[in-house]
Symmetry: C2
Subunit: 430 residues, 2 copies
Amino acid sequence: MRKINIGLIGHGVVGAGVVKFLQKRQNYIRDKYRVEFVVRTICDRSIHRKDTRGLGAAKLTKKIGDVLDDRSAEVIIELIGGLHPAKEIVTTALRRGKHVVTANKVLIAHYGKELFQLAKKQNRQLYFEASVGAGVPIIKTITEGMVGNTYNRIYGIINGTCNFILTEMTKNKLSFTKALKLAQGKGFAESNPTLDINGMDSTHKLAILAYLAFGKFVKVSDIYTEGITHISHDDIAYAESLNLTIKLLAIAKRYENIVEARVHPTLIPKVHPLASISGIYNAFYLNANPLGDVLLSGEGAGQMAAASGVVSDLLNLASRGADANLLCNLYSEAPNFRIRKIDQIKTRFYIRFMATDKPGVLGKITSVLGRYGIGLNSVTQPAHTAAWAVPVVMLTDYTLEKNLRLALKKIWELPIVKSKPVAIRMEKLW
Amino acid sequence: MRKINIGLIGHGVVGAGVVKFLQKRQNYIRDKYRVEFVVRTICDRSIHRKDTRGLGAAKLTKKIGDVLDDRSAEVIIELIGGLHPAKEIVTTALRRGKHVVTANKVLIAHYGKELFQLAKKQNRQLYFEASVGAGVPIIKTITEGMVGNTYNRIYGIINGTCNFILTEMTKNKLSFTKALKLAQGKGFAESNPTLDINGMDSTHKLAILAYLAFGKFVKVSDIYTEGITHISHDDIAYAESLNLTIKLLAIAKRYENIVEARVHPTLIPKVHPLASISGIYNAFYLNANPLGDVLLSGEGAGQMAAASGVVSDLLNLASRGADANLLCNLYSEAPNFRIRKIDQIKTRFYIRFMATDKPGVLGKITSVLGRYGIGLNSVTQPAHTAAWAVPVVMLTDYTLEKNLRLALKKIWELPIVKSKPVAIRMEKLW
């Protein structure tokens, strides 16, 4: 029986879940994998206020140093989140020859490169499955399951809060505000949901996925990010009638030496499997060569889902040597790739205008679009109740984002257009 | 740079794909993973008739012994399929201290237990990712990605040929015969498609998945198997109007010490993500504790998809020590589980009768069902064109399969019933 001593830093929701998981499955893990995980030390700044029954013989402390100084600890689990002192914890642990398991997406998105280099140098493992998709093993799928493939595209529904809100707005016709309240009531959204609904949570996760798939970090600041707060119920309904569903997608694509990475509300065909991913579920749609399209989906948040990711890391770590080398591997096929800025990206767009109900309106709008070389696939005037203006919905051909923005600015200046034009990007996905 | 010598037995479609993959990605694999795979020997009984250009310096042979006798080979790849001599090849390779990678579902389904024990004893690795779902990493997901979880249920669409046929019958209203011809024309179905369409291919794969999930082998002969040849276009259309889609599902469930395993056409809700898995795609829907529902989908067949699974095995093997122990682990939480026979399984059913168009017909049918304790959720009389009889479609409540069979036998004896009753099992999935 191998015994592995662990130091746990951060006994919040996920940390408590990990302890619970290890306790509940102790016999199973011991009998099946011949390993015993012993949580030696638990550090949490509010440990004195927590219910610590059931933590067994673990030493409880408020001092991070107490955990890092435990020479018997082979593995440090970092679950405090954020950049600092998480970075210092992980760095110190690796330097002291310990393996590290973390669920910290912000840390890996910002300092992954440096931490991976350190882990390699120290010949220690750094695992972070729960940082994206909680226990849904997307990181393992990219780095190990499909290893050897070339990744072309990643589409992710990677924020459960946003997906829940958009699902409620679509299926139950709730307003954004009501859907958000419902999410908070059910515990799916933070009391301060800013990082979820403004897209930044997805952006951090996308940075990690893009690195794993393309072998090179895309800076968080290089990822165009647009949240879901401006999505109106009308647009959801109009899109629905065009057989389109709206999702907050995290998208990364590679074309030889060029990488695109962006997070924004996206219209996708209703018949695509991603369109059926509803509520708090996360999903990852990968296109790789030669394997083709692969979809992985599951609950991407929640105490035990995240704990499942951490425990999977522990068991994988325990089952192989320190020299296992598929994860923190910084080689890239395209070491000099450059980021394509959002202005230079070509997509199709759903655009909607509220315009006066007079002859010639469509002609004026399409002539502006034509001047910027923007072709149209369809024009519809959905049923509406507004008296002051009528909605006009257009689906464009592939167009440079920059041109679309310029055209919309001109259109908004037309006296016949009565509200700011709405534009939502579309993806064909296949 | 680590050099790993390989012996390849079986240079058919997949074998040639593996060689092609390794050649095409040679630089990438060397630069990223610091390993070089050298295919030293290739054995195929028809090697003299093959195009062997591009096989480099590999020794080509018809003798299996030439491969197994190569003392420098660390890994043997077995791709000839079938039970014999595949079993002897794998056994000999492990006994001689070599790792083994195979895509042989029949072999693992029948002799997995014994081969895993041998691999453990020899402290060698036995990988078989491509045996189920080709390169879609379902085996890794169960054994490593979600490791630590308890598996409750598996639903798999694991035969691309059947899924393609059912998709064509549903979407393009083809007959079974025409859909099968189309599949053969596109190279998705074998010239002898028996093992695909009678369900046995799925059964072999399910045996492997059930073992991995529950830690114990279910004998192939203990898995109830029903193919898709009896599925009529009418039933697809009637089910469609009830918002149900038909899929050939491989199902394994565990209730404490009881395991159910079966393969049969199954009606599932159209809104379920599995319903959107169409054409040659495979999909795996797992329910586990605590992670919940996880869906994994991708192309489950084809030369390069299968080769992708084999190469992933090679790279995983190369990246860890011989003592990595998550895969061939024969421990079970429920060592004494028993198989629930199909007669004892409770499901809901779609049943259809062709009956004379007279008052009192429904009453007679429902009274027989009532006698066997079978409740109904809905009764419909779909639009039809037959003059000789009218279709009656019923969705039952949960009922014991045995009772349903007895009831259908009695109903078939009623003079008012004009054709053999059709029964298709349903799964709620959530």
